[in-house]
């Protein structure tokens, strides 16, 4: 979803390891997930509380009161499901 060059390629360490801003986007933390937040768009009222509470900015407004989960960064913490006032988000185990 996001396009950013991996700053860790050819990285040399500066004094105090000062880094360019915004570089954490290359760390796709979605791989840490054990449960996947799945939105039921029929039940969703588009209130945006999931976006407000998501600690990783992974619940995103994509327009027209519609919200999607960015699975590149969703760690599956379940805060959105817990906060959703209409229980429109289900935490589904990540199983293969």
């Amino acid at each position: 979803m996001s396009s950013i060059n991996d700053p860790y390629e050819d990285l040399t360490i500066s004094k105090g390891a000062v880094a360019e801003p915004g570089t954490s986007l290359v760390n796709k933390t979605g791989t840490w997930r054990e449960f996947k937040a799945v939105i039921d768009h029929d039940a969703c009222t588009g209130c945006g509380i999931c976006e407000t509470f998501c600690p990783d900015v992974a619940a995103k407004h994509v327009g027209d009161r519609r919200y999607e989960i960015d699975y590149d960064y969703c760690k599956g913490c379940g805060i959105c499901a817990n906060e959703c006032p209409v229980e429109a988000i289900e935490m589904v185990p990540e199983v293969k």
Binding site: S14, K15, A17, V18, A19, G22
Partner: protein, 405 residues
């Protein structure tokens, strides 16, 4: 040369800090340090301290706000003791990794438990591995002077590391001594303006103190290690420049890292850190044995070469120290042994743990130690590890066997 004034150690350190005009002072009170930041707070209220004075809710916040201010390019100061230094420990390790030159005065005090407010070096040694420069002061004047030297070394762009200027709680913080206080003009001539390697700036955003992958952390830790070792030379240059400008000398013949007193050619030496050296000097002046006194001025960087030189002709060394690493031995002694390893010279090194949590160390006790150390000069290094350390002040009468067995 300035004129001498009578000042308590804590007040004198505050005046020394004032002469550096830090941009930010952030502190939380704790005995026996409180007098330092209390005085700085008054200086702020009186308009003498032009920087910001932050009243924070804990030592964790004091160190953390110093990190933020230092990352923005400020000259910062804080002071603490004991439990307060423990609470600063986490942000201080961060500061060294971020290469931020925080300068702190530490009024050394024992750690809980049991609770004690009195002096020893447990707090300073507990921070040994944090990547900070650590100075120790024998008297109030040295504590005053170490503040200026700590700033110059810490803020040197090639070093850029936090520094602790240790002074013994009560023994130095609460004693009045005649001292010379540098004026702001004198300090300006000695201490260049800070040139930060990077600054927090919304117009030029960057990430400081961020995340390192396993592929990169080793290099940042090595960089701290390397800078701290290189700081030994910068301390030498700084002590020399200080002597040139202020006329007070701190071990120029040992690169400003170690001072010696007494007979340079003595076979017997006693080594101590901080204010105990004053008592050691008194003892040696009247003692029949010819003794050299060795005083490290820093424990980080560890002055390996200077100590090897100072002990080159010495057969027996007694280490008088106000700390112990439980389960091993005193760190001051074990590090001295590691410094001598491979030097081709293997003097007897005997460790004496004393002066813990404010227990007075008397001249008679030190004289007895000198006798023991002198006797050990002929017997050579102990073959048993336990035999190398003694707790001369341990009172077995108040320590029942069931507690130690």
């Amino acid at each position: 040369m300035g004129e001498q004034v009578m000042l308590k150690g804590d007040r004198a350190v505050a005046h020394s800090v004032l002469s550096t005009q830090p941009d930010v002072v952030s502190a939380y009170p704790i005995t026996p340090q409180t007098g330092i930041v209390e005085k700085l707070s008054q200086m702020k209220a009186d308009g003498d301290l032009r920087g910001e004075y932050l009243k924070v809710d804990s030592e964790f916040n004091a160190a953390s706000s110093c990190i933020g201010a230092s990352a923005a390019g400020a000259r910062v100061f804080s002071a603490t003791s004991s439990q307060g230094l423990k609470l600063m420990s986490e942000p201080l390790f961060t500061a060294s990794g971020m290469r931020l030159p925080l300068v702190l005065a530490v009024a050394n005090r024992s750690l809980s438990g049991p609770l004690s407010i009195w002096n020893d070096h447990t707090d300073a040694f507990a921070e040994r591995d944090g990547g900070m420069i650590q100075f120790f002061a024998e008297d109030v004047q040295e504590a005053v002077d170490n503040v200026l030297m700590a700033y110059r070394v810490a803020e040197d762009p090639d070093i850029s590391l936090p520094a602790l200027a240790n002074l013994d709680g009560y023994i130095l913080t609460h004693v009045k001594e005649p001292v010379e206080i540098p004026t702001e003009e004198e300090t300006n001539a000695f201490l260049p303006k800070r040139e930060p390697h990077a600054t927090l700036d919304p117009k030029n955003p960057k990430t400081m103190g961020a995340f390192a992958r396993p592929e990169h952390w080793t290099e940042t830790r090595y960089a701290v290690h390397d800078a701290l070792r290189r700081s030994a030379d910068v301390i030498g240059e700084t002590v020399e420049a200080f002597a040139d400008q202020f006329g007070r000398e701190y071990g120029l013949e040992y690169g400003g890292l170690v001072q010696t007193y007494g007979d340079e050619d003595a076979d017997v030496a006693i080594l101590g850190l901080g204010s105990i050296v004053g008592t050691m000097r008194d003892v040696v002046a009247d003692h029949p044995t010819s003794v050299k006194i060795v005083k490290p001025r820093v424990i980080r960087p560890y002055p390996v070469e200077a100590l090897r030189e100072a002990l080159a002709g010495v057969e027996s060394v007694g280490v008088l120290t106000k700390e112990v690493s439980p389960g091993h031995q005193s760190t001051l002694a074990s590090e001295l042994k590691s410094a001598m390893y491979g030097s081709g010279h293997n003097p007897t090194i005997q460790s004496y743990v004393l002066g813990l949590a404010g227990r007075d160390v008397t001249k008679a006790e030190i004289a007895d130690i000198v006798d023991e150390v002198a006797a050990a000069a002929s017997s050579g290094p102990s073959k048993t590890f336990v035999g190398e350390e003694d707790w001369p002040q341990l009172d077995r009468d108040i320590l029942p066997n069931e507690v130690t067995n």
